[in-house]
Each structure stands twice: as C-alpha cells, then as structure tokens.
Amino acid sequence: MEIPFVLLQTILVPAVAAPLVALMGKRIGKYVGWIASAILIYTTSLLLIAGSTIWTTALPISETYTWSAVSFTLEFGFIADNLSLPVALIMNLICTAASIYSIHYMKHRIDELYGEENKSMHGLYHALYLLFPIGLVGVALSSNLIAMYLFIELVLIPSYFLLDFFGYRERHRVATMYFIWNQVAAGLFLIGAILASTATGGSFSINALSTISGQPIAFWVCLLILVGWLIKMAAFGLHVWLPYAHGEHLAHIAAIIATIAGLGSYVIVRLLAVPLAADFQVFGLPIMVLGLITMVYGGLLTLAQDDVKRLYACSTISQTAYSLVGIGSLTAMGLAGGVFYFVSHILGKSILLCIAGVLMMQTGSRDMNKMGGLAKKMPFTAALAILGSMILSAIPPLSGLQAEWVMFVGIFQGGTLQGALQFAIPVIAIFATFLTAAYTFWPVKRIFFGPLSSELEDVKEAPKSMTLPLFILALVSLLFGIYPDVVMHFLSAFF
C-alpha cells in the first residue's frame, strides 16, 4: 500500500490536531481524549504500513524537505530504516496506549486538582500530550542532527508543563529540576552536533557523520553527545533527577519519560556506535563499567523503595543500564540486543508505571506498606503487574528473555574478544539481572498478596479503558517473545 508522505504525516497530523484538540476540549471535556487517541491510532497504523513496506522491500523509506534556502541550504527529512522504524513504532504504540489509559486517569486527576467542572484542562492536557509522540517519533526518524535536537526539545515542553500542572508532591519544584537537567543534556547534544557540523563542512545530516570518523574532533563529538544522553538515560551519578521526575509525574507520563531514557540507546547507536565506530571504541569499556555500576546500583536503590511510584522509577535506572552494557560491548549482537532490550523493557515498564497510577487512583495511597491482598479486589491489575514484572525479569513467553539473551551474547562476545579482565563484566552483569526478579516480584507480593487490610475493603478494579491498553502492550510483548524475529528481522538487517 502506498501512502503519500507517510513519515511526514506521522509527525504533522498530531501537530495539526493538537490546537484543535485544545479547543474542542473546552466543549466536550474528557471525551476529547478519544479524538486524540484516534489520531494516535492512525499514526501507529501509518508506521505499521511503513514497517511492512520495509519488511518486504528491505529498503529504507526516506523523505526530504527543504527547510531553508535563504542563507544556506538546510534540509530536513525523515528516514525510516531497519533501526529507526521499530523504535519509532514501539514508542508511538506506547503513546497510543498511554493516551487511552489517560482518559480516565486524567479525569480523576483533573477533578482532584481543578474541580469537576473544569473542561478546558482536558483539552489542554490532551493537546500537550500530543506533542510527545511528535517529539519521540521525530527523534527516531529524523535524518538530521538539528531536527533531532529540535524534537528532543519538543518533548521537554509537554513534560515540563504536564508535570507543573498535574504532577504530584512538590510538582513545581520537581518540574524546574527536571527542566534544567534535561536542558543541560540537550545543550550538550547541541554542542556536539554543531561541533560535528564544523568538521563535515556545514552538513548536519546523520549520513555525513561518518565522514568525520578518524578525525580528532570525532572524540569530542562522541563525548558531548554521549554525556548529554547519559544524563537522559540516568546513568549512575547523573541519575538523581529521574526518581523525582518519575515519582511525581503523572503515571503514564512517567512511562513516556522512561521511554525518553531508553531512547538514548537508540540515539547512541544511530549517531555514535555505528557511524563513528572507530572513534567510539575508546568509550566501550567505560560505558560497560558505568552501565554495570548503574545496573547494580539501580537495583539496590529499587529494593530500598516503599513508594510504589518511585519503585518503578528507580527500576528504570537499572533497566536502561542493561542497554548501556549491551551497547558498550560494541558487538553487532550487543548493539542489536541493546535496542531490542529497550523495545522490550519499555513495554513492561509502561505497564508497571501505569499500574502504579491505577494503584494510586484506586487506593489513594502510594505507600506499599499500606497495601497487600489487592489481587482479590483487582485481579486484572494484579495480572498486569505480574506480566510487566515478567517482561522486566526476562521470564518467557514474554519478550524480555529474547532481548536479554541476544544482548548477553553480544556482551559475552565483547568480553571474550578483549581479554580476561573484561570477562568479569559479562559474568557480573548476568548475575546482576537477578536483582530485577527480586525488585519486581517482591513488590508484587507486598502489594497484591497476603491478607487484605480492612481499609482496602472498598477498593475496586480499574475501569477497562485503563487496563485494556496495557493488556495490548503485554500482548505485543508476548508476540515479540514467541516470535522475536518480528523485531530482530529489522535489527539484524541493520547491523
């Protein structure tokens, strides 16, 4: 099927719709969420069609548009190839599911904060929300560093405002903190991009990046872009913003923030590990070590949490670092596995963070010490929480295991090829994954099993509009788990 401007549509349709959604919200209130979700379902199917084209033809889809021809030619374009398409598709899917989930969730939150009569806030929320898929998909698909930078910044706008308007405790302060951290990260990325363009002769195109390979400046480009994204990926030492941002954001926006963190693995692969492979070599071992430290530290930190939202927030730190270790191995399997792991993890993490939102909404508490026995009252929610935990803990038939073993083959290859000292890293890393099972299934017991306390006697199951989208995410993960070639077909062709 040939659809004109398929990639541009994916970006533009939500952008055009956003102001309309804001206006319509004034009239129809929360129902505007269905319109926003319908738009996202449309863009998801566009990407699906693009995906099937790439699958059959094995050729990337690229679209180029002239942006400025006045003082110097600046072209921007989109490229959907074997690497960017699966990433874009999964992120758009998660945005879609979270959008449907948010209809009821936001009703609850807006009623709480702004009163039941307030309809315009719904419009504002859904309009702002539509900027997320634009930004995320834009980062994945853009073929040009400046466009990528703009999309990165575009994501920051709704995440700042939504946190400030609708977040939880200390939301104004946390919003500022989040904004500054991410602004610094984006700034480093921009400096790296400009530095790269000085060496490529003024071109910001990602394809031109490989021409600077071997020049001394490539090291600095790598370093700046890497550090910028390590902040966004919450690597150890640069992670302190993330528990706050996840913890105080709306539950499903926290899932989007986790997606941004994971997106780092895509960007590093796209910009650094592949085009600048030779220059990136020196960063391999430090990234692996940092990733390993973050994995263990994130795991221990997660175990320390009693707050159901912060719990899954801290687990993002650990899980994103898995991908870092995979990428740090700099083997084809490690890179492919790192991206696959991001795709898989984000499905599970979105489910879990949204479940945290359900729990907050239905029980009115976020302290796990006050929960217990909820499986009786909320069987679907409990099942979803277990499914999400299974994805993170790499329990088949869901996708976690497939991603993990592909990635660990790469990590072990990287270790074996480089000598004895590096060999300790894969072994420690694989044992560190044990922490994941501990910090996902222990909370499941604390929240859902055991006797039900009398205060929770009136808790009700979440509405279907909240659980069904999450269930679909679990089904997607099941598909990837049973037939992992759905993802690996693309990734294998790229690497």
């Binding site: 499986a375 329990i395 295991l401 073993w405 660990f408 083959v409 044992f431 044990f434 017991k445 294998s492």
Partner: protein
C-alpha cells in the same frame, strides 16, 4: 508411522496449551465440562507422547528445525523438537504423570478457590515441561525452563490471600510461612540458578556458534577445543551451566526453596515439586553429559572433569543432608519434600558418576534416568495419597493424623507399596534403580560418595516407616470409620502403585533396555565413543563382578533393616517411645534440634539475604542516593544563589563607588590595549 513423528512432538505440547485455553474459554459453559475438557487435552498430549514411544528402539534422533530468529551478521536460530531416546522417555514420564495427576485434580480442587487459575497454570505447566524436554536447542529449552518456574510460582502461591489454614511450618517455636512468601522464595532461588544457566548458555554460544543440541554434539570437537585454549573457561562453563539444575532440582546449596513449596495444593506438589519440574535439572545434566564426557575422556581436557566432580558431590551431599532432615520433619508433605530432594540427589549422583571413568557414561546415564522414572512414579503416588490424607484429616501435621489401615484400606495399601519402593525394597522399582546408582559409585571407586549414598539408604528406610507409622498406625484398632477417597482420586495413585510393582517386576530387564538404548544412541549413533582401552586407571572392582552383584544388594538390604527396624519399633509397633529416648539424651536432643532447624542452612540464608535486605536496603538510599541528590539538586542551586548574593553586594548605588568602577574599567581597558593591540 501413522502420523509424522515431528508433528507428534509438536502436538505433544500444543495439546496441553489448548487445554489452558479451554480453562479460560469454557468457564461460562460450566465447571464439569471445562474440567474434563482440560483433562482431555492433557490426555491427547499423553497420547502423542505414547505414539512416539515405539521410535525409542531405533535409537536415532529426529529433528527438523524451523526458522525462528535472525541475528546480526547473517546468522539465525532455528527451533524444533528433538526426538531421541532421552526426550521420548522424559516426555512419556511427564505426560503420563501429568495425566494421572490432572484426573486426580478433578476431584481435589472441586471445592477449592481459584479453579480457573489452577487449571490454567497446570495446563501451561504441562505445556512448558513438555517443551522443555522436547526442545532441540538450549534457548528453547530455557524458555520451557523459565516457564515451568513461573507456573510453579503461581501454583505455590495459589492461596495468595495467606489464610491461616494454608500456612506452612510451625508448630511453635518454628516459624510459620505463608504461601505467597513460599512462592516468592521459590521464584527467587530458582531465578538465581536460571541466571547462572543463561550465562552458561550464552557463554557456550559465543564459542560454539550454535544452540542446537545435535549440532553441539556433532561439533563438540571444534568448540571444545576453542574453549579449552582459554584456561578456566571449561570450569566456568561447568559451574555456570550447573547453577540452573542445582537450583531447579533443589540441590545443595540452593535447595531450601523446595520444603516451603509445599504450600501449594497437593496435586501441584505431586506434579511440579516431586514428579516433573524438579527433574528438569536431572534431564538437563543428562543432556550435557555426552559433551562433557567427550571433553574429559576422549578429547582429554582435564578441566571438563569439574562438571562431573561438582555434579556427583552435590548429589551425594544433598541426598545425605536432606535425608537427615526427613527423619525429624513433622509435616507429612515436608517429609515427602525432603525425601524428593534426597532422591534427586541420588539421580544427580548417578549422572555425575557417568564421567568418573572412561566407560561409565551410559551406566551413569541409565542409573540417573532409571531412578528418575521409578521415583517419578512412586513419589507422585505418595503425594497423591498425602493429598487425600491431609484433606481427610484436615491437618498438615503427622501427629494429628488419626487414621488407621481400616479407615482407608486401599489408600493404605497403595501408599505402603509406594513407600516400600521409596525405601528400595526388592523387587519394587525403587530397589533396582537405587541399586544401579550404589553399585556404580562403588565400581568407580568413589567410596566417600558410596558411603554417603549407603547411609542415606538407612535414613530413607527410617523416615519412610516413620511417616507411614505416624499416619496409619497410631491407634490401629480405634478408628474404623470409612474415610476412603473417591474413586477418581483413588484410581490415579492406585495405577501408579501398581506400575511401581510392574516396573519392579521387570526391573533388571528394564534397566538393561535403557542402557542398551542409550548405548546405541549416544555411542553408536552420535559417535561419543567409549575408549575401553584407557579404562584401566580406575575401576578396580570391574573384574570381580560376581561377588559384587550379590554383596551390594545385600549391603543395602542391611542398611534398610538398620533404618527401618527402629522406626518400626517407635512408630508402628510402639514397642518403645522415640520421645522418651530423645528426652533422655542431651546429644539426641541437640541433634534433633539441629536437623529440625534444617542444619541452620535455611535460617542462615534467611538472615543474610532476607533479613539483611530488609534491614539494610535503606542504606543505599541514605548514604549514596540522598547525598548525591543533595549535592546536585541542592548544592548547585545553593552555589548559584550564593554567587548571586555575593555579586549583589557590588550593587551599592553609591555614586563615588560607581565612579571608581568606571575608572578601574578605563584603566584595565587601556592596559589591555597597550599590551594586546599595540604590538
């Protein structure tokens, strides 16, 4: 062949999967129909396994993998079913025991809560277990391996609300444990092993470039040579790979999850924690033995012997360790659980011995697998009997069970038959299989292992007679009220008990057949040659077989009597009182406490890992996270506000000071012009 054998193997696990779908889909139609539909699909799975059985005599492997996943660099992984003697035997055992236990379940779960969950997870479990044994490559096997684990988690925690009647452990001063905690513990301990196993699989793959068992066998010379060039690699591989089976089969030191796993419904304990899942480790080790045997004895990499040394030692230690604990346990299901670990220890010991001499591979394999078969049958029977007994008496403690042989006549008979098989009384199946392991350990000259195994025979006899006495022979004549189980429950364990006798009747022949088939398959078909020429180093007893064949069985019979006689006097004839004996002796008291505290292994692990985590988990937050948080999110803002406060002081508003600034500026500007621009 009526149906293509490859198709049979696929259908064998797909049918139970359909059963799982039925468990959900047919809820609305009605409970009895649903239950029987699920059982019917289990039966179809068994039928498929049974149809594969004739192929076993051909001692060949059938494998036609299909594309599954493409990998970077043009590689790909295919998956399929591997049909060879080992997988056929295991598939039949699993499918048969599953069917028996599923039939039994129909009645058992009739009044239990959460039946939908029960049928769903039992079916998924059977699917995964069959997938595990039929998988033709390591990663597919691992998928089955992890899935049985998650089913086990779900079924142990079946009574997740932790009502007091489902608690385990106790009585005071011993701690009570809840089902949800037991499920979590089982999941975490086995996950630890799984992580190690996955590491081993991935590590192996980086050298071998293949995950398929057959390809691993065929290219063993190439990849083993590559592995052997890196010192320590073979040892590391052995340890990583063995971590999985040790945890899954509840072997020392990762064995402490199994006693608590008894918190699930009894059919679950029978199927998962006695008959099948815990044997996955035995199966996997058996799968690997040809490779490591080749490495040790044919390719001559001495490091590969680690695999066998660890296996045999772990098996013997576990058999002994858990045998002692079974002698003092007070809960019926716990006795059976300890006994399961102990018997699996025997199997693992047998398999480990396979690599101790250059000609013992098939002997070791046979011993391990034969004991797996006979144990699967009699232990499933014992658990099913225990389920009925616990249900009838309403207590988990043997001391509160007031049954007599007249109140449950058939159950009494069947349970005794199974118990005698467990003790190893000839001519029941347990005798022959245990004897193979004992004689192998003697023949290979491993006298320490042999001694441990032999002492465990006495322990087994003691705890077997003890639990039978405590359950049925407390007050023989008083309780005559008929409490017999319903036929649908009685028939499954009746059949199992009869089968135990039947296999026993043909025991020596049966064992020989297995050995022939393994010989024909692994040696003749796959070409893992046995070098009889180099056999001289060990096996001093190999020549003097005539007295040995008589002496060893006699020795184990003596051990049975040594174990059974005191137990008979204490618990069956009540000729003397064990309590009085223990009361009277300080040492015995201490030993009893030591054993009942499970050698303090459980409490130590608990203290370090569980209590340690709970107590110290906040330290990370307090001493690393919070200071970092403070440094970045408060320190930097404070720095800036401090700077701005300092700078603000310059803004005084006094004209005289401002003029001084202007003069200072002009001065600096002049100096810089002079120094920078003029030259």
């Amino acid at each position: 062949m009526l149906i293509d054998i490859h198709l049979l193997a696929w259908l064998c696990w797909i049918f139970p999967l359909l059963g799982a779908a039925m468990a959900i889909l047919l809820i609305r139609i009605g409970r009895p129909i649903r239950d029987y539909a699920v059982v019917f699909f289990t039966f179809l799975g068994f039928l498929m396994a049974l149809l594969m059985l004739p192929e076993i005599v051909r001692a060949e492997s059938f494998n036609s993998p299909a594309f599954w996943i493409s990998l970077p660099g043009g590689g790909s992984i295919s998956i399929g079913m591997l049909i060879d003697p080992l997988s056929i035997i295991l598939a039949n055992i699993v499918a048969f025991l599953s069917l028996a236990i599923m039939i039994y379940s129909v009645k058992y779960v009739e009044h239990e809560p959460g039946q939908d969950r029960y049928w769903f997870f039992m079916s998924i479990f059977i699917t995964s277990m069959l997938l595990l044994v039929l998988a033709d490559n390591l990663i597919l096997m691992f998928i089955g391996w992890k899935m049985v684990g998650i089913c086990s988690y779900a079924l142990i925690g079946h009574y997740y609300s932790d009502e007091e009647e489902h608690w385990l452990g106790g009585p005071d001063p011993f701690p009570f444990r809840t089902p949800s905690r037991a499920g979590l513990k089982a999941l975490l301990v086995t996950t630890f092993g799984d992580v190690s196993l996955l590491g081993g699989i991935v590590f192996l793959y980086t050298y071998s470039g293949t995950l398929s068992f057959l390809e691993l066998y065929q290219t063993a010379d190439v990849w083993l040579a590559a592995l052997a060039t890196d010192p320590g690699a073979l040892t590391l591989l052995s340890v990583l790979l063995l971590g999985g089976p040790i945890a899954k089969s509840a072997q020392f030191p990762l064995h402490e999850w199994l006693p608590e796993a008894m918190a699930g419904p009894t059919p679950v304990s029978a199927l998962i924690h006695a008959a099948t899942m815990v044997k996955a480790g035995v199966y996997f080790i058996a799968r690997l033995i040809p490779v490591f045997f080749y490495a040790t004895w044919i390719a001559n990499y001495p490091e590969a012997f680690t695999f066998f040394a660890v296996t045999a030692a772990v098996g013997a230690i576990t058999a002994f360790l858990t045998g002692t604990q079974a002698m003092v346990a007070v809960e019926l299901k716990k006795v059976l659980a300890y006994s399961t670990m102990s018997q699996i220890g025997y199997m693992i010991l047998g398999l480990g011995l396979a690599g101790f001499t250059s000609h013992s591979m098939t002997l070791g394999l046979t011993a391990g697998i034969f004991h797996l078969i006979s144990h699967g049958i009699f232990k499933a029977a014992l658990f099913l009997c225990a389920g009925v007994i616990i249900h009838t008496t309403g207590s988990i403690y043997m001391s509160e069970m007031d049954l007599s042989r007249r109140s449950m006549r058939y159950t009494w008979i069947f349970m005794w038959v199974a118990t005698m098989s467990l003790m190893g009384i000839p001519p029941l199946s347990g005798f022959w299989s245990k004897e193979e392991i004992l004689s192998l350990s003697f023949e290979t000259g491993q006298f320490i292992l042999f001694a441990l195994a032999l002492v465990t025979v006495a322990f087994t006899a003691f705890y077997s007679v003890r639990f039978m006495g405590k359950v049925f022979h407390k007050n023989d004549e008083e309780n005559q009220e008929d409490k017999e189980a319903s036929p649908i429950m009685l028939v499954p364990y009746g059949i199992l008990a009869v089968l135990s006798v039947a296999v026993g009747a043909i025991g020596p022949w049966f064992g020989e057949q297995i050995e022939h088939i393994f010989e024909a398959y692994f040696v003749d078909f796959l070409g893992f040659e046995v070098h009889s020429g180099t056999a001289g180093s060990i096996a001093p007893a190999a020549q003097s077989t005539v007295p040995l064949t008589l002496l060893l069985p006699l020795l184990s019979l003596v051990m049975i009597v040594i174990g059974a006689l005191p137990a008979y006097r204490f618990y069956v004839s009540h000729a003397s009182s064990s309590e009085a004996l223990v009361e009277g002796s300080g040492i015995l008291q201490r030993i009893q406490m030591f054993l009942r505290k499970r050698w303090y292994i459980n409490s130590s692990i608990n203290r370090v890992f569980v209590d340690g985590t709970i107590r110290y988990r906040h330290l990370v937050q307090k001493y690393i996270e919070d200071p970092l948080d403070c440094l970045f999110n408060e320190g930097i803002p404070r720095l800036f506000s401090g700077l701005s406060k300092g700078l603000r002081r310059l803004q005084t508003g006094l004209l005289s000071i401002n003029i001084q600034y202007i003069l200072l500026f002009i001065l600096l500007a002049l100096i810089s012009i002079v120094f920078l621009v003029v030259p």
